[in-house]
C-alpha cells in the first residue's frame, strides 16, 4: 500500500504565540495548505504513525511538509526527526527545522539525522513572514518532493 501525500503542513510547536504568529505568517504569504498543529513531539509521532488520538486519521496520508521546533517539553524535535527517518514509511518525509536556536551542535545533529532544511526564526516578524513565504515557495512549489513508499 503506497502512502499518499496530502497537502497538509504539520507544524510541531509548543509555543502558542509562535503557533499563531506562524499561522499569521502563512496567511500573509498566501499559503493555503491546511496547517495541522501538534504541540509536542509525542503528538507529532502519533499523528504521523496514526496512533493515539490520531488513530482514526486517514492512515495512508502523510503531510507534504513538517515544520519542526527543536526545544519542546517531553520528546524534543531531534528525537522526533530521528524516529521519522528511522521508519521506512516516513523516512523521505520533508522535514524543516524551524527554531529560535542557532546552536552549532543542533545544526550538526539535525543535518546528520537527515533534515531537509534548517531555518532560524528571526525576532523581526517582517523577516519571519518573509522566511515563511520563501519556505512555502520553495518546499511546496519549487522543490520536487520525494516519492513516498
Amino acid at each position: 500500500m503506497s502512502e499518499k501525500k496530502s497537502s497538509v503542513i504539520l507544524l510541531v510547536e509548543d509555543n502558542a504565540s509562535d503557533i499563531d504568529l506562524t499561522k499569521r505568517a502563512f496567511e500573509k504569504a498566501n499559503i493555503l495548505n491546511p496547517l495541522v498543529v501538534v504541540e509536542n513531539g509525542e503528538e507529532a509521532l502519533e499523528y504521523l504513525f496514526c496512533v493515539g488520538k490520531f488513530a482514526d486519521r486517514a492512515k495512508d496520508e502523510l503531510p507534504s511538509l513538517v515544520l519542526l521546533d527543536l526545544k519542546m517539553p517531553g520528546l524534543g524535535g531531534l528525537e522526533v526527526l530521528k524516529q521519522i527517518r528511522a521508519n521506512p514509511k516516513t523516512r523521505r518525509l520533508l522535514v524543516v527545522i524551524l527554531t529560535s536556536s542557532k546552536e552549532d551542535q543542533d545544526l550538526a545533529i539535525s543535518y546528520d539525522l537527515g533534515v531537509n532544511s534548517y531555518i532560524r526564526k528571526p525576532v523581526d516578524f517582517h523577516k519571519f513572514a518573509e522566511v515563511i513565504k520563501q519556505l512555502g515557495m520553495y518546499w511546496l512549489v519549487l522543490n520536487e518532493p520525494p516519492v513516498l513508499d
Binding site: 504565540s17 504568529l21 526545544k71 529560535s100 536556536s101
Partner: protein, 904 residues
C-alpha cells in the same frame, strides 16, 4: 782440696785402664760429632721442640762484639786463674776460664762458640804451654767448647736459674758434660803422655776443675744474665739475631726477640750476610797471617836457643874433658872409689851442675860419677835408657852424640824435655878409663828467656788480632749499618710505619741510596696518605649511606659481611652462618622466590646483579633492601664470586608510597574538579541553549504581535501610538541582537582551541572586501601588510579581524576619507599586530573597561553596537596566550595592538 782430688784419683785408679781407654775414645767420638754439628749450626731443639733444625745467625755489630768480649774474657780469666793455686804444684784455678766459656756461649751463642778454641789456645800459650802441645791438642780445643754448647742447646734460650725447669735441664747437661769431657781429654793427652797419666791423673784433675765450675756456674749466670739482658746482648732476646727452621723446610719457626713461633711468609733468605762478606775474608787473612807468623816466630826463636844450647853442650863437654884429663894426670889415684868420688865432686862443682846434670857412665851404662848425689836420678836413668835406645851397644859409640829425652813424673804431674850430649872419653894416660861423658840440660833452663819473650810476643799478637777484629767490625758497621737500617725501614714500611727514615752515611754511594730511599719513602707516604684519605672518605660515604658490603665466594659458598651488613640485617656476627643459606633465612618468605631468581639470573650469565627484596629482622622489623653486585667469572665463564653492596631502601619505599598516595589524591581532586567544571560547562551550555531558544521566542512574540497590532489596527491608533509600537519593535530587535552577541561570546572558549597556520593578510582582505561591498557609498582606504602569517586558530582570527575592521570602518564613518591599516611591528623578538584607523578615537582615560562586555565608548545614536565585539576579541586573544591593548585620541583615531602566543 787435695783430699778431694786424691779421692777422685782413687776412683779413677779403681777403674780398669782398658775401660777408661774405651770410655775416652767414646767420649772423643761423641765430642767430635757434636763439634761438627755445632759448627754447622745444627740445633737439636728448634723452637723448644726436639728435632733437627738449623739456626741462622745474623752477623751484626752485637755478634762481632760478642766474639771480642768472649775472647777478652777467656784471656782475662785464664790469666787470673793461673795465679790462684788450688792444689800446690798441680791445680790452678782453671775453672774460672771454663766458667767464662760457659757464660759466653750461653749468653752470646754461636759467635762465642767459634772464638773459644782460639782464645783457649792463646791463653794456654800465654801460660807457657809449648806450641807443640797446642798442635797436638788442636781437636781438644775445638771439641771442648762444644761440650758447653750442649748447655746452650738445652737452656740457652732462657738460662734463668730462678726457674726450677732450668735447673733440671742444667743437671742433665752436667751429667752429659762430665760423661764425655774429662775422659776425652784423657784420650787426647794419651798421645803425649802415657795412658796411665792421662786417664788416672789428667782426667780426675779435669773432673775436679769442671766440677768446681758447675757448682759456681748457676750463680754466676744469675748475675751475668740480667746484666747481658740490660745491655741488650743476650742473643735470644735480640730481634732477628737468630732464626731457626727445621731441616728440609723453608719456614722460620723461631726468631730471637719474639719468643713465639715465628712464621715468615717469604722465602728463606739466601746468600751471605754483607757483614760476613766484608769482614770474613779480612778476619781469616789476619788470623792466618798472625797465626803463622806467631807460630814461626816462636818456633824459630826456640830453634835458635836450642842451637845455642847444643853449642853450649859441646863447650861444656870439652871443658869437662880438659878438667878430667888434668885431674887424672895430676892425681894418681889408685882406688877406684876414691876416683869416682873425686870426679863426682869435680862434676858437682861445674856450673852446669846447678841447673843441669853432668855424669859419667861406663860402656855398660853404669853410672861412674854424677853431679847429682841422688842415686836414682831419673834424669840420668832416662838419659842412659834413651842412649841405649838410640845406639844399641855403647861400645860402638865413638863420636859425641846429642839427643833429647823426656822426664815425666806423675805426682806432681810434670814433663820436662832434656837436651843431652854423650861423648866417649879415653884418658890420655894409657886408656885406663873407657867412659862416656854425658851432659844434660832441661829445655826450660835454656829456653826460659825465649819462653818469656814468646809469651810477650803472643800477647802482642793477641792484641793485634783483637785490634784487627775491632777495626774490621767498625768498618763493616759503617758500611752495613745504613744498609741494615734501610732493610729495617723497608720492613717498617711493609708494616705501614712511614715515620722511620734512613740516616745519612759517610759513604757516598750509600748516602745517595739513603737519600733516594727517603725520597721514595716520602712519596710512598704521601700517596699512601692519599689512599687512606680516600678510603676514609669512602668509608664515611659508605657509613653515611648505610651501605653494607658483602662478598660471596660461590665455589666454597662462603659469604662475608662487613659491620654495616650485620646492622642492616639486625644480626650478630656469631648468629650468622656465613653462607648463602644463612642470608636466605633472613628474607621474608614471600620474597624468597624473587631473591632467588635474582641470583639465578646472575648465575645464568646475566649482567651485574641487582635485586630488591624484603627481610624480616630478628627484632620483627621488615625492611626493604636493595642489593647490587659485580660478578667475577672464571675463564670458563662460570660465576666464581659476587662482590656487592646492600642498602636499606625502606624509607625511599615509604616516601614513594606516600607520594603515590598524594598523586592519587591529586588525581581524584583534579577529576572531581574536572567533573565539576564539565558539569558547569554543561550548565552553561544548557543555559545558552535556553537563552537562544526561550529568550528569543517571547521577543519574537512581542515583535510579532506589535506588528500585528500595527498592521491590523494601525488605522485606529493615532500617530503617536504607532510610533510607540515601532519603538517596542525596535527595542525588541535590539534585544535580539544583544542576545545573539551574548551567545557568540559564550560560545568562545567552549569549543576546543585548534592551532593552525593562519594568513592574517588574506583574512583581512576578505573582511575588507565585504566591508567595501556593505558600504558602497563610503570612501574607504585600506592598507594591509602582506605575509602576516602566524600560528593561531583560523576561525577565531576571522572573528578578531572582522570585529576590529568593522569597528574601524564604523568609527571612521564620519571622516570624509577613512584610512584603515593592518600590519605588524617587530620588537624584542615579539611580533605585535595592529589595526589602525583615523576615526573618532576615544578618551584613553575612560578606556579602562574598553574590553569589558557591553562597554561602549560612544552613544548608540552616534555609533550603534552592542559592546560585545571587543570583549569577544580580548577573549580570543587571551585564548591565544596573547595580549591586546589600544592607543587612541579623540577625533584622531585609534590603534588596536595584539600579540599571539607570547609564551613561545
Amino acid at each position: 782440696m787435695n783430699d778431694v782430688l786424691n779421692w777422685l784419683g782413687g776412683i779413677f785408679n779403681s777403674i780398669p785402664l782398658t775401660l777408661l781407654e774405651v770410655w775416652g775414645r767414646f767420649g772423643f767420638l761423641v765430642g767430635f760429632s757434636l763439634m761438627l754439628a755445632a759448627f754447622a749450626r745444627i740445633t737439636f731443639r728448634p723452637a723448644y721442640q726436639w728435632g733437627l733444625g738449623r739456626e741462622r745467625q745474623t752477623w751484626n755489630t752485637k755478634a762481632l762484639l760478642s766474639i771480642i768480649i768472649t775472647f777478652l774474657l777467656i784471656e782475662l780469666t785464664g790469666y787470673l786463674g793461673s795465679f790462684i793455686v788450688l792444689v800446690p804444684g798441680a791445680q790452678t784455678f782453671e775453672s774460672l776460664k771454663d766458667l767464662s766459656v760457659f757464660i759466653c756461649i750461653l749468653l752470646f751463642g754461636f759467635p762465642a762458640l767459634i772464638i773459644v778454641p782460639f782464645a783457649y789456645g792463646l791463653s794456654d800459650l800465654n801460660e807457657g804451654v809449648a806450641p807443640g802441645f797446642i798442635l797436638d791438642w788442636i781437636w781438644g780445643y775445638f771439641i771442648n767448647p762444644v761440650c758447653f754448647w750442649i748447655a746452650y742447646q738445652l737452656i740457652g734460650k732462657n738460662p734463668d736459674f730462678k726457674k726450677l725447669k732450668t735447673w733440671k735441664w742444667y743437671f742433665l747437661f752436667v751429667v752429659i758434660f762430665m760423661f764425655i769431657e774429662p775422659v776425652l781429654w784423657g784420650y787426647i793427652c794419651s798421645n803425649k803422655f802415657t795412658s796411665e797419666i792421662s786417664y788416672r791423673t789428667i782426667t780426675p784433675a779435669l773432673f775436679f776443675t769442671t766440677g768446681i765450675t758447675w757448682i759456681i756456674a748457676p750463680f754466676a749466670m744469675m748475675i751475668a744474665l740480667p746484666f747481658a739482658r740490660k745491655m741488650g746482648f743476650f742473643w735470644a732476646e735480640i730481634p732477628g739475631h737468630v732464626k731457626e727452621h727445621l731441616i728440609g723446610q723453608k719456614v722460620w719457626i723461631w726468631e730471637s726477640g719474639t719468643d713465639k713461633n715465628y712464621k715468615d711468609l717469604g722465602e728463606l733468605k739466601k746468600g751471605i750476610p754483607i757483614r760476613i762478606f766484608l769482614v770474613g775474608p779480612f778476619i781469616a787473612l789476619i788470623i792466618t797471617l798472625l797465626g803463622t807468623t806467631a807460630y814461626f816466630t816462636l818456633s824459630s826463636s826456640e830453634l835458635a836457643a836450642t842451637k845455642l844450647a847444643e853449642r853450649l853442650h859441646l863447650e861444656i863437654t870439652e871443658n869437662i874433658n880438659h878438667q878430667l884429663d888434668k885431674f887424672l894426670e895430676s892425681k894418681q889415684v889408685s882406688k877406684k872409689e876414691d876416683v869416682t868420688l873425686a870426679i863426682s865432686d869435680l862434676l858437682y862443682k861445674l856450673p852446669v851442675a846447678k841447673n843441669g846434670r853432668a855424669f859419667i857412665i861406663d860402656k855398660s851404662g853404669n853410672l861412674i860419677a854424677s853431679s847429682s848425689d841422688n842415686d836414682s836420678d831419673l834424669v840420668a836413668k832416662n838419659a842412659v835408657k834413651k842412649l841405649f835406645e838410640l845406639n844399641g851397644k855403647l861400645d860402638l859409640l865413638n863420636n859425641s852424640t846429642q839427643f833429647r829425652f823426656d822426664v815425666v813424673t806423675a805426682k806432681p804431674l810434670s814433663r820436662e824435655t832434656w837436651l843431652t850430649q854423650a861423648t866417649p872419653y879415653h884418658d890420655k894416660n894409657g886408656g885406663h878409663y873407657d867412659w862416656i861423658l854425658m851432659t844434660a840440660m832441661p829445655e826450660s833452663y835454656y829456653l826460659s828467656g825465649v819462653r818469656v819473650g814468646n809469651s810477650q810476643s803472643a800477647m802482642i799478637f793477641a792484641i793485634g788480632l783483637i785490634l784487627s777484629l775491632a777495626a774490621a767490625a767498625a768498618l763493616a758497621a759503617i758500611v752495613t749499618k745504613p744498609i741494615i737500617k734501610i732493610v729495617k725501614v723497608t720492613q717498617a714500611l711493609a708494616r705501614g710505619d712511614f715515620s722511620v727514615h734512613v740516616p745519612d752515611s759517610r759513604l757516598e754511594e750509600i748516602n745517595t741510596l739513603s737519600h733516594s730511599f727517603n725520597n721514595m719513602s716520602e712519596q710512598l707516604q704521601s700517596s699512601f696518605a692519599m689512599i687512606q684519605e680516600n678510603e676514609k672518605r669512602l668509608q664515611l660515604a659508605i657509613e653515611g649511606a648505610s651501605l653494607g658490603i658483602w662478598d660471596w665466594d660461590i665455589v666454597s659458598n662462603k659469604l662475608v659481611w662487613d659491620e654495616s651488613m650485620y646492622l642492616q640485617y639486625g644480626l650478630k656476627k656469631e648468629n650468622f652462618g656465613g653462607a648463602y643459606e644463612a642470608w636466605e633465612r633472613s628474607i621474608l618468605p614471600e620474597d624468597i622466590p624473587k631473591a632467588r631468581s635474582g641470583v639465578q639470573t646472575a648465575m645464568d650469565g646475566g649482567k651485574d646483579y641487582t635485586s630488591e627484596f624484603r627481610i624480616l629482622r630478628p627484632d620483627g622489623l621488615i625492611r626493604h633492601l636493595k642489593a647490587t653486585a659485580k660478578l667475577i667469572r672464571g675463564e670458563d665463564g662460570a660465576l666464581l664470586r659476587m662482590v656487592g653492596i646492600s642498602f636499606d631502601i625502606s624509607e625511599q619505599k615509604e616516601a614513594n608510597a606516600e607520594l603515590m598516595k598524594y598523586k592519587n589524591q591529586l588525581e581524584d581532586i583534579v577529576a572531581e574538579r574536572t567533573a565539576a567544571l564539565e558539569f558547569s560547562n554543561k550548565e552553561l551550555e544548557s543555559f545558552s541553549y535556553s537563552v537562544s531558544h526561550d529568550l528569543r521566542a517571547p521577543l519574537r512574540g512581542i515583535d510579532g504581535w506589535s506588528l500585528a497590532l500595527l498592521e491590523d489596527y494601525g488605522h485606529l491608533l493615532d500617530e503617536k501610538a504607532n510610533s510607540y509600537l515601532n519603538r517596542v519593535r525596535s527595542e525588541t530587535q535590539r534585544m535580539g541582537e544583544l542576545i545573539d552577541d551574548l551567545l557568540k561570546l559564550s560560545q568562545i572558549s567552549r569549543s576546543e582551541m585548534k592551532w593552525e597556520k593562519v594568513d592574517l593578510t588574506s583574512i583581512a582582505n576578505t573582511v575588507i572586501k565585504r566591508l567595501t561591498e556593505q558600504n558602497p557609498n563610503r570612501k574607504l582606504l585600506f592598507k594591509v601588510q602582506s605575509d602576516l602569517v602566524t600560528t593561531a586558530n583560523n576561525h577565531y582570527m576571522e572573528i578578531v579581524l572582522t570585529n576590529l575592521l568593522n569597528n574601524a570602518a564604523k568609527f571612521t564613518s564620519k571622516v570624509p576619507e577613512a584610512i584603515i591599516e593592518v600590519g605588524k611591528l617587530n620588537t624584542d623578538n615579539k611580533v605585535i599586530y595592529f589595526v589602525k584607523d583615523n576615526g573618532a578615537g576615544f578618551n584613553m582615560n575612560s578606556a579602562k573597561n574598553l574590553f569589558g562586555a557591553f562597554q561602549r565608548m560612544h552613544k548608540q545614536s552616534d555609533f550603534p553596537g552592542t559592546g560585545v565585539g571587543l570583549a569577544m576579541v580580548q577573549r580570543i586573544i587571551t585564548l591565544h596566550h596573547g595580549k591586546i591593548w589600544a592607543e587612541a585620541e579623540i577625533n584622531t583615531g585609534a590603534t588596536f595592538y595584539f600579540t599571539i602566543n607570547e609564551n613561545e
